[in-house]
Symmetry: D2
Subunit: 207 residues, 4 copies
């Protein structure tokens, strides 16, 4: 387990020997200060988020268009939590889980990106801040899986399964919540805080 220190004066994250570069998402060796406050990875994200210097490599929330209420609520909370931690949401930009994730994200000040299968941006759900109409249909799932550092599946059928499998193929961290499809090697996480902790660990691990 990595030990992390937040230096309030320099607004920098250190691990006792290195300083974290929030733009490159890497650690470098030059002259750290050791007197920071010990923080968890999730807390570190919160501090970095406040500096607004963290590179916004997307985190994906994937799941069905026809979401249950439970899936919708969870996706909304997940989207909100991403925004609070300064994390960029990327999703498919349509209904159900995608809409809920955008809604939560936007309400917490995020600017959700929707990578649409459609040819025109109007097809986005109303909470998408930045609609990207790809015009390539469901093949855009392969781009979502490629572009995201972490994919969080909330429920879902074969469409979600294909995105999860693509994510694994591309060496992304794939997390499953609720009733997401069972896939070998995919970690199942119980709650939103657990997901944030896993994302934070990945982001701060020289990924």
């Amino acid at each position: 387990m990595q030990v992390l220190f937040w230096n309030e004066r320099t607004q920098q994250l250190g691990d006792g020997a290195r300083v974290f570069d929030p733009l490159a998402l890497t650690w470098r060796d030059d002259a750290p200060e050791h007197d920071g406050k010990a923080v968890t990875a999730s807390e570190a994200l919160l501090r970095l988020a406040a500096t607004r210097k963290l590179r916004r490599v997307p985190i994906g929330i994937i799941g069905p268009r026809d979401a249950t209420q439970a899936q919708y609520d969870l996706a909304e909370q997940m989207g909100a939590a991403l925004a609070r931690h300064g994390l960029q949401l990327l999703c498919g930009g349509k209904n159900g889980v995608m809409e809920a994730a955008c809604k939560g994200h936007a309400q917490e000040g995020g600017m959700p990106v929707g990578l649409l299968p459609d040819e025109e941006w109007h097809a986005a759900n109303p909470y998408v801040a930045i609609p990207i109409a790809t015009g390539i249909g469901p093949a855009r799932n392969a781009i979502i899986a490629r572009a995201c550092l972490v994919l969080v599946a909330i429920g879902g059928g074969v469409g979600t399964l294909s995105e999860m499998a693509l994510g694994l193929q591309f060496n992304r961290l794939v997390l499953a919540m609720a009733d997401a499809p069972e896939v070998n090697t995919v970690e199942r996480v119980a709650d939103v805080d657990g997901v944030i902790a896993r994302i934070a660990a990945r982001l701060l691990a020289n990924a």
Copy 2:
């Protein structure tokens, strides 16, 4: 179960009430002749193949680059069986299961198409007759899943799993052989003849 009749004189397939259009892969109602010989769906394919009039909608064979000998042998037999039944092979055009499928297909007179992730055709295995360099990387899997009427998985990991899931998402018939990944609703077929029978049934079912 569909009853099929092959009329040797007209070189047409009927079901007692309709005639099969091998170009459109549909049945039409005009003036069938009833005096043909009863055939199974697989036999019907063999007869249609001999007429060389069957539309070559691709059948996909998918699986790992690092194939075991057993997977390689099975893919080679599967590719050969497709060619003998006048079926067009489409695959990823690389090594392992893809190479074996192309090898078997070409040896039986087929012209295997390889949809390559690479930017240049030279990246194809030596048995690909028609190399199609897409330049889009593993995202070409989404096109293989879309283009094929039936996908036959022979072994495989997450890459194969993503193709299977994409196939299901696109309402393709997805069949699993040997140690292909477990996916809900994917039918596991024991041998080459069983796969041909399933493909024949799909092709002749007004798909």
Copy 3:
């Protein structure tokens, strides 16, 4: 020519008979107030930008990786002008014109999106706020052309030409600055203000 009124109290844009919906980018007929201040389309954009309610449908800046100093400077000014007018920049995320556009945009508070050909986000130039690694190579140009409401070409060779042609094919507004390739029907605009005026007119024209 459209006459536009900005109502400072309601923070709404009207045209005397309708009110502009900044989220849907359309005009609706309900109960306009007529007492606003007459503004140009570019001024209207500035006002809407300040409300932070304008939907961020991307505007693309396209051009060569090997930019001349003049192209680089112009792209930087263009990117900055987009940010000042609340417009979202989308580009290829690489060097030259793309880097300059991102640099200008970021310096004025924008969050430039880079749609990368590469498989990993690290390939983005340092000014890309939201890197989207597509992994599909130069085929991502087709997505840039599709996703952007307006494409602004600054210099460029055949790569830029293909994006311009794709934009025309998708009915996007394509504008050429500096020494961008000659294409029939592509409007050549002399300076940054002229481009902003053309974008504003398009955005406010119920596009």
Copy 4:
């Protein structure tokens, strides 16, 4: 200018010092026989075609869906000429120039491949032998441009222009016939024989 010799006994093409490998489309140095008959590049293609050993790297014919009669006739002749010379046609699989090219190619025994923008193969014109439904819309143009060794434009508007520009970007040989769009560096060829000669030269030039 390359001097080519066809050895009727060995069914091999030589240039006096090397032997052409029709599968790899390269020349190798091992033990040529010099007593062949001198042939032009186009004649060499005809001989290689008869051996059925030439790798079928696609040649693209591109042009508008709404073709004039003159464009249709020319595309049909071009498709036929490709087939006679053992060359594989790849096109967009739709109407107009694409249909004509497939028609001519199929009538001369070719098996035209149609790379469709659509989600289902039924959208192909009736002369497409091997329909490949990509489901990615007009973005499939980027794949056509990538996959073809040579692109032959017959007429066309911005769609054709984008394919031509993509072809140039990917270092393909791009030829323009009839009223194809003007593009810098694109060679305009007057007739079918001229196109075959240019393709033959490219194919036999260690491309």
